[in-house]
């Protein structure tokens, strides 16, 4: 019996090896490659977003390469994405970044989520451009090689509150119910100031844990204070919260301030009355979305079917196109100083819209790309996202500077 067990184990292990080894053995062709590292949490908490992003980036890169790649300084390059799993841990993130830089000599690393901040300790000294997706100030603060073309919570807040103050005058009392991630923390810091700026009253904030599903007790705490606007995110947790708030008799508005999956709103269904939930999102498959994003959505859904969390996935096309355009313009694929210079000094036509770089006054470096904010509302009866207004970044940034400029 024991011997049989041993044989079985050896068999199983070798089977596992056999499935894995061919991946490792695959040889690369002698073509020049522009390597882009993706330090992703393919396993762990953010796996869905990372896997979706991986798949959509792969599709896009395949398309670029099929067209013959890109030409930089007279040399033709194919793009090669190198995915490293960090298991959504800090040490995994540092190890993966080390591997990408040291073994593959990668000059650009994309990263999703908070542990990504850990990679900057490796990328900064190595002068590798690090593309992050965290709203936290620390992500950018005095980090020369950090690039963030990510819709900042502050900017979204400003755009949405501006829209609300102009179009929905009955909103007077604002509260914050948010998950306790870095966007939530940021929101609890900035909202009081923002509300004062728009003549609203801020009546309190509560941050809840990421795994919370039952919001009745929390709502019993907040709703007696009679808010007319609940500021939250556009994630699945917030959708649940909104649904339960309506069940508890809440009659006011909701404002989601982060990007969220378009499908997250589907969870609310027709529970929230039409037009009561606003957010900085756009349905990537709809006509309201920028053309490139729409086409990408189509390609993605043709291959993988509907229902993927596409918000974060598509954000990284901004990064991909930014890198592609910037290396072309800079005429080099490995001089990151020059590429970064070109990157932050120009205005780019990225999939999500015109983007330029700012931020010297706030973070000491100008690595923040700002892009238009899409103000949309959820129409539950039709299960559709309706675009209300596209607010250009140039309209939002001055207010942002005025309120949060000095750090």
């Amino acid at each position: 019996m024991k011997k049989f067990g041993l044989t079985l184990m050896v068999l199983a292990v070798s089977l596992a090896l056999m499935t894995v080894v061919p991946f490792a053995m695959a040889k690369e062709k002698p073509v020049k490659y522009l390597k882009i590292g993706c330090n992703y949490g393919l396993t762990g908490v953010v796996a869905p977003a990372c896997i979706a992003s991986k798949r959509s980036l792969e599709l896009e890169v395949e398309r670029i390469n099929k067209k013959g790649g890109i030409v930089v300084g007279g040399q033709r390059y194919h793009i090669k994405l190198l995915f490293e799993d960090n298991g959504y841990t800090s040490e995994g993130s540092v190890a993966a970044a080390t591997k990408l830089i040291d073994r593959e000599n990668v000059k650009f690393i994309f990263n999703i989520g908070t542990p990504g901040l850990a990679q900057t300790s490796v990328t900064e000294p190595a002068k590798v451009l690090s593309f992050l997706s965290s709203s936290a100030d620390q992500a950018l603060l005095n980090k020369k090689y950090s690039i963030r073309v990510y819709p900042l919570v502050q900017m979204n807040d400003i755009a949405l509150l501006e829209y609300i103050s102009k179009n929905i005058p009955e909103v007077k009392r604002v509260c914050l119910l948010f998950k306790n991630d870095s966007s939530g923390i940021l929101n609890s810091q900035i909202l009081p100031k923002l509300c004062a700026h728009y003549g609203m009253e801020f009546i309190g904030d509560e941050l809840y844990s990421l795994t919370e599903t039952d919001f009745y007790p929390l709502l019993a705490r907040m709703l007696p204070r009679k808010p007319d606007l609940i500021v939250t995110d556009v994630g699945t947790g917030a959708a649940l919260m909104a649904k339960q708030a309506i069940e508890k008799g809440y009659k006011g508005f909701f404002m989601g301030t982060t990007l969220g999956a378009d499908i997250a709103w589907n969870k609310i269904g027709d529970k929230v009355p039409d037009g009561r939930f606003l957010g900085p999102v756009v349905d990537p498959g709809s006509k309201a979305a920028p053309r490139e994003i729409r086409e990408m959505t189509k390609r993605y859904e043709e291959k993988y079917g509907k229902g993927a969390p596409l918000d974060i996935a598509y954000l990284y096309h901004n990064y991909l196109m930014l890198v592609v355009q910037a290396v072309k313009k800079a005429g080099t694929v490995d001089d990151t100083d020059k590429i970064r210079d070109v990157m932050v000094k120009n205005t780019w036509d990225l999939p999500w819209g015109k983007t330029r770089f700012v931020g010297k006054e706030v973070w000491g470096v100008d690595g923040q790309g700002i892009m238009p904010v899409f103000v949309s509302a959820w129409i539950g009866s039709k299960k559709k996202i309706k675009l209300l207004k596209v607010i250009p970044a140039e309209d939002v940034y001055p207010t942002f500077l005025k309120l949060f400029g000095k750090k």
């Binding site: 292990v13 894995v20 991946f23 841990t89 540092v94 040291d102 901040l117 306790n180």
Partner: protein, 315 residues
Amino acid sequence: MNKNNRIKSLLLLVFTIIGFLFPVIRNDPYTLSLLLIIFVFIVAAVGFRLIYITGRLTIGQAAFMGVGAYTSALLSLNFGINPWLGLLIGGIAAGILALGIGYIVLRVGGVYFVIITLCLAEISKLFWLWWRPVTYGNSGLIDVPGFSIASFQFGINKIPYYYLSLIIMLVALFVMYRMERSRIGIALHALGQNDVLAEHLGINRTRYRVLAFTTASFFCGVVGSFYAHYIHFVHPDQFGVMPSIMIQIYGIAGGIGVFFGPIVGSFVVAGLTEFLKIAKEFQPLIYGPLLVIIMLFLPKGLIGLPQMFFKSSKK
């Protein structure tokens, strides 16, 4: 027996030498960065075993790593305390906490202790998340300073970190090994086998358990602090239930009955994890069943593997 021991110590010496010479033979930052994290987890896993031999199974050791990491990182960020001192302070903070908590919780046994320690891990994570004015919650502490000797900054050079981690591990292992081999160790083992009997023999149950718990947690604190200054980033998620469970997997998969079990376990399981990274998002599909298979056929852990071969060839 004596000969066996001699072979063992020879093997140990060889491995230690290989450990010290490794960066000279192969200066590959990535391999070094993997190894030094494995060393960190070896210390935690061996500590986990030290507590286990007294008859208490804990799934909360990452909490003490967190205490060490946060203490040291906060001190160096806010008060400019030298990270070297931070290593010690982080360890002591974790040790003192373990001493206090240990005196209370170690009286509880069996599955209840497992759950209490699980609570401990979760509480510590929730606490770091909640204490935002100081820990910045889920945004994490960034730019934690690294080590330096005089004017030499460790920077992103992995070699000094590797040696530091290796030395910390060797010291921790030496202390815990000596402890287990001394009179104290006999008492600890006695407690694990039959604590009522042990008490009759004059072994103070709680005191000895607290000793083991505090020692293990002190070293957890030290490696936690090292971790913070090496990664330069501290985040609550690294010290919750899941990392604690990983430590426990390293220990049990390696073989919790033997001192070297957790060491083997850390190397093999971490190596396996690394190897499976090729499978990208599909790795849990292989990793999960592999854990099950290891436990099904080697309930005593990987360290039982050579024995098994030995036995089956003798038959």
